[in-house]
């Protein structure tokens, strides 16, 4: 077969330009010019994560010399630092005043205030978040598929089937609410791109986990005869046991204009006291005794999200504030106030959950022991942050 040139075909011609790094010497041609030079890295070497996140959200105290160009009706602009009561050093220093002939007044002492010191210890950006979540989804999909092929659900007792359809199912709603109405909701509110990106990634975990539970519920509906795929809605809407948890979860979304309190209340208080209590200290503990090796793999993914990632960034974020060189005391006082507000509500909700502990045939550890474990873990988190366990915790 012969090929013929199509004379009508028009394509751009490649040209040799030699526009490669190092081809010539001139000011800025050296390797030291090949790094983003508008911020100071947290450690000696700037990381890939920092390069793709730091300074993408501008700050009038840095380089936003012409200022924000759109305002809300109330006059607030951009990402106001007072959208939380928490404070970081330097925020009370006045913003540079600029006007005719003032010059740009770019930042001289980057980062200018303490909010910019936060880095997500998980170093999340698009590459990491898709790899992580795609892996989790594949893993869960395979686990459930294997269980299906091995007829693993046949061993479940009736009581356990009821437990999973109602209560494991009910938990999906909590994750969903947090995913959308706490973490996604707050990704507009944080003072820096690092905060907001960490919140967006936290939101992804939550929304994904909610859907994981929903899809698991769907599989069980198909696999187990008599499994009621709508029972989780009934439990969530009507079971007395769930109303306390639901009330606190909903209250967290209703926090009055403070992203810091929403995040603190959710990841520092609710998650250890209620989230881990239910997921780790009840479901994970009870499942094996009831012949269920599958539910723990689904729940375990959510546990891992929180324990290894979501709690980690939240501790890094809040920890900077409780050790802030200017506002440590202010922040601790605010957080103690939040603890006094949220801890009793969470403990109250925990106690309402108590009847769940006696439902499976093979009993998990006693409720009080489970709760003590959760409280101990919680107290440890507080002491890492330099906060006092509120007196309500011992009640």
């Amino acid at each position: 077969m012969t090929t013929t040139e199509n004379s009508a075909r028009s394509v751009p011609k490649p040209t040799f330009t030699d526009a490669e790094a190092g081809a010539k010497e001139f000011p800025d041609s050296g390797p030291s010019a090949r790094r983003y030079n508008y911020y100071k890295p947290a450690k000696r070497k700037q990381t890939h994560y920092e390069d793709v996140t730091v300074e993408v959200q501008p700050d009038p105290r840095h380089y936003l010399t012409q200022g924000w160009i759109y305002g809300f009706a109330d006059g607030s602009r951009g990402y106001p630092l007072d959208w939380t009561k928490l404070k970081a050093w330097g925020v009370d220093n006045p913003e540079p005043e600029r006007g005719p002939g003032s010059g740009g007044k770019p930042v001289q002492d980057w980062p200018a205030h303490g909010w910019h010191e936060f880095r997500d210890p998980n170093e999340e950006w698009e590459l990491t978040m898709f790899r992580y979540n795609a892996n989790v989804e594949r893993q869960i999909g395979q686990n459930v598929e294997n269980a299906r092929n091995a007829k693993a659900f046949d061993q479940w007792t009736q009581n356990w089937v009821r437990f999973v359809e109602r209560h494991v199912g009910a938990w999906m709603h909590i994750e969903h609410i947090f995913g959308l109405y706490i973490f996604a909701a707050c990704n507009r509110s944080g003072p820096t791109n690092m905060h907001n990106t960490a919140m967006a990634v936290n939101s992804e975990h939550k929304i994904r986990f909610a859907q994981d539970l929903a899809l698991y519920n769907l599989t069980l509906t198909e696999e187990i005869e008599g499994f009621d795929g709508a029972a989780h809605l009934d439990a969530w809407n009507n079971d007395a046991e769930w109303q306390g948890v639901r009330k606190v979860a909903e209250a967290l979304t209703a926090v009055d204009d403070d992203w810091g309190e929403m995040i603190f209340g959710t990841n520092i208080v609710f998650e250890p006291l209620l989230g881990e209590l239910f997921r780790s200290n009840l479901v994970q503990q009870a499942a094996p005794g009831n012949g269920d090796y599958v539910t723990p793999t689904v729940m375990g993914a959510g546990e891992y999200d929180f324990a290894q990632r979501d709690l980690r960034w939240t501790q890094a974020c809040m920890g900077l504030l409780t050790q802030d060189k200017e506002f440590a005391d202010h922040n601790k006082q605010i957080m103690q106030g939040w603890l006094s507000h949220w801890v009793p509500q969470c403990l109250d909700a925990a106690r309402q959950l108590q009847p769940l502990w006696s439902q499976p045939d093979a009993k998990p550890p006693r409720f009080e022991d489970s709760l003590d474990r959760a409280k101990n873990r919680f107290a440890g988190i507080l002491s890492d942050l330099g906060l006092d366990a509120p007196k309500e915790l011992s009640q």
Binding site: P12, P14, T15, T17, A19, A21, G22, F26, P27, D28, S29, S32, A33, Y36, N37, H48, V52, V56, T65, Q66, W68, I69, Y70, G71, A73, R98, G99, G101, G103, G104, W125, E126, M129, F130, A134, E137, H173, I177, A184, A185, N187, R188, S189, N196, T197, A200, V201, S203, E204, R208, Q211, A214, L215, L218, N237, K247, E250, A251, T253, D257
Partner: protein, 550 residues
């Protein structure tokens, strides 16, 4: 996942929709639109079980191609003329992307249909992807392209630059003010549905023609997420239309959003595509031709027009006027000329136009040479320092323009410029539509109706203001647009990297001071101002003084 199991899965996750029982979420972002709560279908039908692996797979392709481009020495074939403009483009675009992510929760609150929130959350995730993948692309350019200056400090430069702030509207406009105006009409209905085609399809095409196949790899991947966002916008728009009270606001917001997007996006992308390319094949589409196809035909005729029957008032006049600006009034050419006039205050190098470019422009835009040819010849003549000033301070039959207070692109089509005293300040506007945006639309009342949630146009919107009375050398140093020898400018009006041919702060020191046109305007008496307006309106094309015949 099979199609069937995906449909079932999607059906199942609808059970997650939340109806608050004890506490309503805090309403942080207001809107003057009203939405009736009604069961809605999630337009995206996306389940994370398939979404995450799909996105990961896309990533693998992008990063694989990036490695390949570098191993294959792509930069030996990249046109510097093109890549220099990426210093501006890639400093702007990660901010709009991340702003789009940040804007999504504004919609959760404004649109009370939980079924739609799922799609909005997925858009949030997409946008985090876009922003960080673009920052990463810029990093690759910085590391591998001959001249890293300007890439290495983009996120500082973009805010102090002579024209960078223009691009910031395409970000702040998504996240501030009335939640629906910002996150739905401006972002989704206009920016994404109409203008991403030029951004993410036309731009990559032009990049490839200039030896850069990294940009197409990244941006086509970005664009593949865009159809999801367009469905989000459409669903919200239909809901808004179902309430008669919203129609007046929709009409207002479409006018504002259309015109502002035209002003901003056509200015930037038009310049990159027409003046940043070396591809002068006569059969390659001009920006005007692309615009006609993608924006006029695909968006206006195929998307907007059918919505008329649902009661949407479409700004036909402004759409036709945008075309008129591009086709008859040389909008893109005027902007490119302005960017090049102030090359000293930028952080990338702007190549001059050659005979081959002239020929192409004349072929695509008959009459181009008579208008712009002389000026570009002067630009070329003045491009190497040789005892003269930079072009901005030389007499080349060009009157330095006033900025438009609203869109911040200068008033380049001189006959359209209007002035108005707004908020106690005399302001120039590039067009009546921009005056209306500031003086009428972005106000707490609109046509007699209260619009308490509408945003405001704020900030130091004229770049020259901050540097009024400054020496150019100090201006450039203050902005930080100086190379690592402490004196050579980051920007240059040519592509020659021979240090002897490059402009330095010393050359700048000798030039006359910067003056703010707006400060001067506000010092004029009424009669002086009237004379100024009459003279300005008689100027052009190509910025020529009034009465000039050449």
């Amino acid at each position: 996942m099979s199609r069937q199991s995906l449909a079932k899965a999607h059906q199942k996750i609808q059970e997650l929709s939340w109806e608050p029982q004890y506490h309503e979420p805090y309403m942080k972002y207001g809107t003057d639109y009203t939405f009736r709560k009604a069961a809605k279908k999630d337009p995206l039908k996306q389940v994370l079980r398939s979404y995450f692996p799909m996105q990961e797979e896309k990533d693998n392709r992008v990063y694989g191609a990036s490695d390949g481009a570098i191993r294959g020495n792509m930069f030996r074939q990249v046109q510097e003329r093109w890549l220099e403009w990426q210093k501006l483009f890639l400093s702007i675009i990660p901010l709009p992307e991340i702003s789009a992510a940040r804007s999504m929760p504004m919609l959760f609150q404004a649109v009370p249909n939980p079924e739609l929130h799922n799609g909005q959350a997925i858009q949030m995730i997409d946008e985090v992807r876009h922003s960080t993948i673009q920052q990463n692309l810029k990093r690759l350019y910085m590391n591998n392209y001959i001249d890293p200056a300007g890439f290495n400090n983009t996120l500082r430069n973009f805010h102090s630059d002579y024209c960078g702030t223009i691009g910031r509207q395409f970000a702040e406009g998504f996240i501030t003010g009335d939640a629906i105006t910002a996150a739905s009409i401006y972002l989704t209905i206009v920016a994404e549905t109409a203008f991403t085609n030029t951004l993410f399809v036309a731009m990559p095409g032009e990049a490839a023609a200039n030896g850069d196949y990294l940009l197409p790899t990244v941006f086509h991947s970005v664009q593949s997420d865009e159809s999801r966002h367009i469905s989000n916008g459409y669903a919200t728009l239909l809901m808004a239309l179902s309430d008669e009270d919203n129609r007046q606001l929709l009409e207002r917001d479409l006018r504002y959003a259309w015109w502002n997007n035209h002003r901003v996006v056509d200015a930037a992308i038009g310049t990159f595509i027409e003046y940043g390319t070396k591809d002068r094949r006569k059969d390659r589409e001009s920006y005007a031709e692309m615009w006609r196809r993608w924006i006029y035909d695909d968006y206006y005729r195929a998307y907007l027009l059918p919505l008329e029957k649902y009661g949407l008032v479409i700004p036909h006049d402004l759409i036709e006027e945008s075309w008129n600006q591009i086709w008859n009034k040389g909008y893109v050419h005027e902007v490119a000329q302005f960017f090049a006039t102030g090359w000293v205050a930028n952080y990338w190098r702007i190549d001059s136009m050659t005979d081959e470019d002239f020929e192409w422009f004349e072929y695509k835009y008959p009459g181009w040479y008579d208008r712009y040819g002389k000026w570009w010849e002067n630009y070329n003549r003045l491009s190497r320092p040789n005892g003269h000033h930079a072009i901005v301070a030389e007499d080349v039959d060009y009157v330095y323009p006033h900025r438009c207070w609203t869109c911040m692109v200068p008033c380049l089509v001189r006959e359209d410029m209007v002035v108005d005293k707004v908020d106690g300040q005399w302001r120039t506007y590039c067009h009546e539509a921009c005056r209306w945006t500031d003086a009428v639309a972005f106000r707490p009342t609109y046509e007699g109706r209260d619009t308490p949630n509408m945003g405001k146009l704020v900030g130091h919107r004229e770049w020259e203001t901050l540097y009024h009375g400054w020496n150019w050398a100090d201006v450039i140093q203050d902005m930080g647009f100086v190379r690592d020898d402490g004196k050579t400018l980051t920007a240059q009006p040519h592509l020659d990297l021979d240090p002897k041919k490059m402009w330095t702060l010393d050359h700048m020191r000798r030039m006359p001071h910067v003056a703010s046109p707006n400060v001067i305007l506000n010092e004029m008496s009424d009669s002086e101002r009237e004379a100024f307006v009459a003279d300005y309106n008689a100027q052009g094309p190509a910025g020529r003084p009034a009465g000039s015949t050449s």
